[in-house]
Symmetry: C2
Subunit: 327 residues, 2 copies
């Protein structure tokens, strides 16, 4: 494929679908989003995605050579079939996404878990920023409504036979902890996801123990997110700070465990919860220092995402340009 070949990145989310066209070196040529309208079910949503890609092609005059598509959950990447998308309300189990979309958009469609796709983008973006060395070992935690993850070893995304490796949010951190959506107990996701943290904020708000938070959200429990809690902690709500530190400490244990197993160069903490900022990063780093004794833990950098929301876009384009990934 030539330097000017254009690829499409599609990111299927619970509320919107984002599409971008770009070249393999990451130059974005066109982009557009639409609402997912997930109530239409898989057939209706896939129809919308085909329309989105074809509409953007017509508008831009560009024809993508392949599509790299991120899906919010588990997919059998070899068959291009979704397995379980927990954040989409209708049943997306065993939907043949690649086979359905490819004929409608006129090119191959490669699917991958959205966070693994973002990990691929982050890895590529960092390799380019550092002058092309892309052999790093990286663990990517995407801290949002759920906690997704991705792992790359020596520059290569670790997928496993189904593309399901890298589920960093489903490590057991507290053996008898809360029941997780996945069926397990005490997964990191039950302790440090956006909803898990917000629930602690709501609890403190409703107990009258978070006066600053009360002010910030004007008494509206529905507006509490980790970001408002970080502001409240900074403004003096010690009980809120304590809950943020507790959640970040659990995240720190998960990070420490990945570090002793893989000794990566880099751990990236991305997603909305990372907006807590220094309190989160400092606590995670302190926990790692406390728990990792196999090597100087400061060897391993713990950083925010370099590309932010753009990681998924770049990852999709890279995925498409590679002709999909297999284990």
């Amino acid at each position: 494929m030539g330097k000017d070949t254009v690829y499409a990145s599609v990111d299927l989310g619970g509320t919107k679908v984002a599409c971008a066209f770009g070249t393999a070196d990451g130059e974005i040529r066109a982009r557009r989003s639409v609402a997912t309208e997930s109530h239409r079910g898989p057939a209706g949503v896939l129809e919308r995605i085909a329309g989105l890609v074809n509409g953007l092609a017509a508008e831009s005059g560009l024809r993508p050579a392949a599509v790299g598509m991120g899906v919010p959950g588990l997919a059998d990447i070899r068959r291009g079939v979704t397995r379980f998308l927990p954040n989409l309300p209708t049943q997306w189990r065993d939907v043949p996404v690649s086979a359905t979309l490819a004929p409608r958009v006129g090119c191959p469609v490669h699917i991958l878990n959205d966070v693994r796709m973002a990990t691929l983008g982050e890895l590529t973006g960092r390799a380019r920023a550092s002058g092309g060395r892309g052999r790093g070992t990286l663990a990517f935690f995407a801290l949002g409504t759920g906690i997704g993850g991705g792992v790359a070893i020596d520059g290569r995304l670790r997928l496993g036979p189904l593309g399901a490796a890298g589920e960093l949010g489903h490590q057991t951190i507290v053996p008898d902890g809360p029941r997780c959506g996945c069926g397990n107990r005490g997964c990191l996701e039950t302790l440090a996801s956006g909803p898990a943290i917000a629930a602690k904020g709501v609890w403190l708000l409703l107990s009258g123990r978070a006066p600053q938070l009360y002010e910030i959200v004007a008494g509206d429990a529905g507006r509490v997110t980790p970001r408002e809690m970080a502001l409240a902690a900074e403004a003096g709500d010690d009980a809120v700070r304590e809950e943020l530190v507790r959640a970040a400490g659990y995240l720190g244990i998960a990070v420490a465990n990945v570090i002793v197993v893989l000794h990566p160069d880099l751990v990236v903490l991305g997603g909305g919860v990372a907006a807590i900022g220094p309190l989160l990063f400092d606590t995670v780093r302190a926990t790692v220092r406390e728990r990792v004794h196999m090597f100087p833990p400061d060897d391993v950098r713990i950083e925010p995402s370099l590309l932010g929301d753009h990681a998924g876009t770049l990852g999709g384009i890279v995925l498409a340009s590679m002709g999909g990934l297999t284990d």
Copy 2:
């Protein structure tokens, strides 16, 4: 190197040093062990190892082209220097093993953590048994006095820059658990190593709650190991069985965590504690089934070591024949 080139494997343990000469395809030509006599300190022990290798060479008429040596702890594999060997009583910190030994044995000496070396051997042995396909992803738990580990991704041992990746025994399993020798709290090693399990047996023995165990060890607490506890459980000591299941359950959590992060083909449980047998393996498998929901957990085989004690020997020969490993 020709097919008949001979390499040496050396395994430095707390009580003995084992040496074997063999060809790259794993055919053993000569072997001998000596007591470590660790009270002599690093210089004295390295002298003994040089004598062992040179003595075996003289006896067999073979000259190894290189030595692959396993050390019980952490080593900087690039520099050939030990960092921390917790089971050797004298101070082995920063001992230049490769530089000291190589001139005395007349060939290069490559060092590696002993369990990573056994992982390399297990991987090689399994690849050969299955007709040469060695691309598997494997996690090796060595359950002994400590809990060591090794991880291979797509047939390649994951080492990290210092050869310290794969420390599966130092994952935090119980955040506020017992203090570990490494400095952390609640490491798997504090919950499921030989001494951790034996201590529970001793407790039950001394409390008069383990009549079968009492009989098996003739009332001698010093003779309690996980193996005797397994016999006692089988003979009807329910309290002993419960403690074995509890320890195996913690191991199951560590195995489940490695599985969701890496989705390996295979998890190997080796070392003396694996002698507990079916009760250990069944409990680990049940825990994994309970906790892993990202893919059918039965995809991942959980098995005893194929090579047993021979894994380290073969690993050393492979390490030597590869001219050492780097990340």
